[in-house]
Symmetry: D3
Subunit: 230 residues, 6 copies
């Protein structure tokens, strides 16, 4: 028996907010293309829908756990849409924990997940999934072109880094981390811890270039930022 | 052992689209009040969120089953929000079929559901739930004041009916029924069939008056339209 | 990856009542034969066993929901027998809802189901399954030779129709439909709605000719009645 | 917190074969009466329905495991009927293993089960359930009046024993045991082992006297045979 | 309806390694006593058994995810033992995720859990559980008398602190944290993040004094170290 | 479709107690080798860990059912370790009943189980699994070289039997059987009953020679004792 190498793609929840169906259509093409030579896992964020429900929940005085759960359920709705769009090559049910993911992953299909647990971002989910699938690379497709030396949405003069170490990334993100439900930035501490302990390479890229993903993976095309495990 | 009578409240998905948290807050007050003398089941529609995901799915050429499933998942997100808002008096997990509902209902808690199955509206879910809980009354809280002799959103001169038979209702709605995912009006044929065979009284009311619900139920306050089983 | 086209076979519950094992043995041969070029889903009715338990339940004053559930559990017993008889080519557990079916269907095996939900017949289940599997044809194997212009068990002079539109079928069946548990005739309104919205061709045939099924499907052999989606 | 003592009632599958609804109606009255002072678990056999499906399965060359599973599914259909008949005092879902039983039992409701596993009778299930619920007594309601010195269906001169030890019972049953699916007599070795190791008193009685069960339990009324743990 | 306040007790896995049954017997007495005025959740660590299986897994070259899962399964074995020992007041099944915990918690019983997910300690589980149950206090029962200014197992001159802020604790533990499976110390970053965002008071105490726990909680008896949310 | 023949390997719980990782490493090599020509199921015992938890449970006055459940959970921990060690060729979740096993087995992967139910040994589980998979042979790998004419751990002069009938084995083991949790010897009555009714050949061997297993199976190498079905 021969098994293809695995790869994990983390899709920003913002992906669904505007031009959602066109974005997903591009993702579908890329994943179909990749799935002949890779086993693919996809993790979807919650986006504006997550934020909307978390905000209603906050008005209703729910505690942080339940706010995070609303964000998780919103991300699962996105994950369902991707899974249904992929059709027969994808597992048609979204797992709700890492153990559940592992069981569904054993089917040999593409598995699409949303959030798993309060207290962690979907980036942490992606890192856990990358570790459990022995993936050497985790793609983070988000709404900026890569990792900058400071938050590019705040600082006009932020400079993008083609390559950086995980420790450098930790240092950069340290200040921007918030612990409130729905507000984790890029990668939260859990994500970073997993990436580090299992030495997973992270590529941060803009989801606008999602259709170049198979070039990036197969031909090492120069897109986004690469975070080196050490 | 003594068991309180049961009542089912079907909440329009539009309830969440505008002033969502204020609407839910009113619902929470009413349900807490009711739950001392009634066992309460709540069924939530999908609203604009359902329509948004169904529309993306349609762009992606999904079949009707999967479009309905997207609407169902959107309604479950709404149902989760209500369940979490109700706190300890509600069962904290949303059932995904009538059998699952029956099991969770046996806990004695308020149970909140979204959709169950492609091919039927959440109004059909509400009718099934009313039948399985032996409820004599089903409240349908929607965005019009009651049942009109024709669609009030289309015809300015539509006249609201304080009381009508189920057969009259069938006749009125017959023309407006569509079979496409996410487009069922008020009550679909499945809902009507269940209501009829188990002789369940339906009250259609505007969700703007949701805070008067306990008056309506306990004191027979004159709100909305009453559909008589026969 | 290449996927075979899908086909759905709805087996009457009466199939098990007399010569059950011989009938199933024929079905097994046909399905084994078909399964090299088709993905096959099978939906089993409840038969006399369903009627027996529903009748006991009615004596005990159960509500319609629970009577339907007894019929559903009886149909699942039949479904189990078929699944076990098919051995390794079939999924060994009977799904209990469409979502559950979809998950088990992703295994690539033949999936056998009984009923899903109160308020609908196993013919509705078959239609839902045909839609979710993108099947273009649904075979209904029952105890009459096809669709007649009126009920052939009641009217001696009923004439069988080799081909008819779904609207013609609706018109014919309209009067014979009952809403009581266990009494749906041939195709209920839910089945018809699904067949219509997804334009699924239905072939109604006598299960006595089940061993000719692969001829029918592969060589278009002239058996039973064909219901044209429009 | 105070917990009522537990009692387990094992109902023969033959109970459903003739006068089924009248028998269940009597059982319902007795259990409602008992449930104010006892926690009640009910285990149902498979009866003629089990034998019918096992016989079809045998014609189809299924192995013993799958034949037993058919009998188990038939007994679950019976268990569902009892559970639905009991209404709100019963847990509405039939457990499928002892672990599942233990979870549902923690609800505080009457729990009704059928078979659990191939290779053992529903009497073994009843013994396992009695042990897990710390019941001191297991009632076996069957179609003979009690334990006889030899099989009363075979030997006209069999003598009923008002009281006997478990070892005496073992000796009597030893010869009549068969290992084929669906043919276990009264109590199989697994049942006997559990009863012995946990010193559970067994009362074997005719289900025709089921309406006297609460007299038997509460007032020690003299019915059937009592098997003393040692 | 009135609900008692909730409290969470995190039990070190070392609790089971020596005098296990005596320790659990004390815990049982305390929890029975507490459960009249508190709702109690218990989280159990993995102890030497976790370390043994993780070490075997490491010899076999398993990745960190699977090593953590072995530790989780070891902690669930401990959790089962506690749950069984508590009998009817406890939920008899150990949940495997926070969502599962929330469902079981709604039963009103004591719920006992082990680990939930790779990448986090059972102390993080305890913090998540405290947040989801709106507990204002989390008890951490471990093998040292409280929080010291440095690791008391390493430094003879470590000084115990009766009271400290969460930020002070973070500072103290920062250096001792490891990311390898099975090696988290006292509280890991996830635990600290949850405690902080939901302002949960943590009391670290020696499990040798577990029988004084109800005095501690009810009468504010002076045991261990108190970590103030801010 | 062609299916490989199935084989079941029962691994003593003692396998994990000493040199655990080396033993598992050998087992992994053998199973990888076998899995090209056989479908393999593995059943793992509980070993010293089971005995430790059962002994704590007994100190705490748990009933036999719960003691057996502790042993079952200990055996599942062992089963998890084997499943994780096998990686992609194994199903990553341990089933908890025969029905659950059958579902997971349909995946086509190696399935690893621990115990299923109180009242029976893991050898009974292995026999049930062998029957459900239509295996003609069951390998029992334990800590003695085969079946002796009396217990070799007690009697120095015990003589090993290269071949014996199942009835001879019954006779030998009859006296050594105990009904207490965790104390079943070699094969319990349930195991023997299943083996007999489905005519399964049993080979008892020392797990020290586990690396010769594929020689034994493929080349009929002369190891251990063979128990002939009749
Ligand atoms: N140094 C940095 N480099 C790049 N982006 C940064 C940096 N610091 C902060 N960010 C912010 O991180 C954001 C991306 O992370 P964010 O978590 O908001 O989105 P996401 O995870 O892709 O989507 P979602 O959480 O909705 O699924 C960017 O929009 C950017 O503003
Ligand atoms: N005769 C009628 N009387 C009242 N409303 C009618 C009638 N005919 C059509 N309608 C339409 O039914 C609508 C309410 O049903 P609809 O299914 O759209 O909402 P809902 O079920 O409350 O919400 P959702 O489906 O989003 O959960 C009204 O807005 C109205 O336009
Ligand atoms: N126009 C018609 N043409 C053919 N059959 C009809 C027609 N009208 C009514 N029927 C009845 O439909 C019956 C078949 O449907 P029915 O639902 O009873 O069986 P089934 O679905 O095959 O089995 P089951 O419901 O037991 O699974 C026929 O026996 C016939 O009497
Ligand atoms: N500053 C400190 N104060 C107290 N304990 C400390 C400190 N720093 C490190 N420790 C260590 O933390 C240990 C307790 O945490 P640890 O995670 O080992 O045990 P646990 O969580 O109780 O058990 P388990 O992880 O096995 O369930 C102590 O034995 C002590 O050596
Ligand atoms: N006649 C016999 N021949 C062989 N072994 C016997 C015989 N009688 C008793 N035994 C005992 O059976 C033991 C093996 O069975 P046992 O159930 O203890 O281990 P296991 O099933 O391999 O492991 P575990 O139950 O821990 O999973 C041997 O160690 C031996 O002492
Ligand atoms: Co994010
Ligand atoms: Co609607
Ligand atoms: Co029918
Ligand atoms: Co029997
Ligand atoms: Co720890
Ligand atoms: Co053993
Ligand atoms: Mg589920
Ligand atoms: Mg289960």
């Amino acid at each position: 028996m021969h098994f293809n190498p695995s790869i994990v793609i983390k899709i920003s929840g913002k992906f669904f907010d505007e031009d959602g169906s066109r974005n997903i259509s591009s993702l579908r093409d890329v994943v179909k293309n990749l799935s002949s030579s890779f086993r693919v896992a996809i993790v979807s964020g919650g986006g504006s829908n997550a934020r909307k429900y978390i905000s209603m929940g906050r008005d209703l005085n729910l505690s942080e756990s339940y706010l995070d759960l609303l964000g998780i359920w919103a991300s699962r709705l996105n994950a369902n849409l991707i899974a249904f769009a992929l059709g027969d090559i994808a597992y048609p049910v979204v797992p709700d924990s890492l153990e559940d993911f592992i069981e569904k992953w054993s089917s040999g299909k593409v598995v699409v997940t949303g959030g798993f647990q309060p207290g962690q971002s979907t980036a942490a989910v992606a890192a856990l999934v990358a570790e459990a699938t022995n993936s050497s690379t985790l793609i983070v497709a988000t709404n900026v072109d890569g990792v900058y030396d400071k938050d590019p949405k705040v600082y006009k003069d932020a400079v993008m880094l083609k390559e950086l170490t995980i420790n450098k990334l930790k240092e950069i993100l340290e200040n921007s981390q918030s612990v409130k439900a729905g507000t984790y930035e890029l990668l939260d501490p859990m994500a970073m811890k997993i990436i580090q302990r299992s030495r997973i390479k992270v590529i941060v890229m803009n989801y606008r270039y999602i259709s170049s993903l198979s070039d990036l993976i197969k031909d090492n095309k120069n897109i986004g930022s690469t975070v080196i495990p050490e």
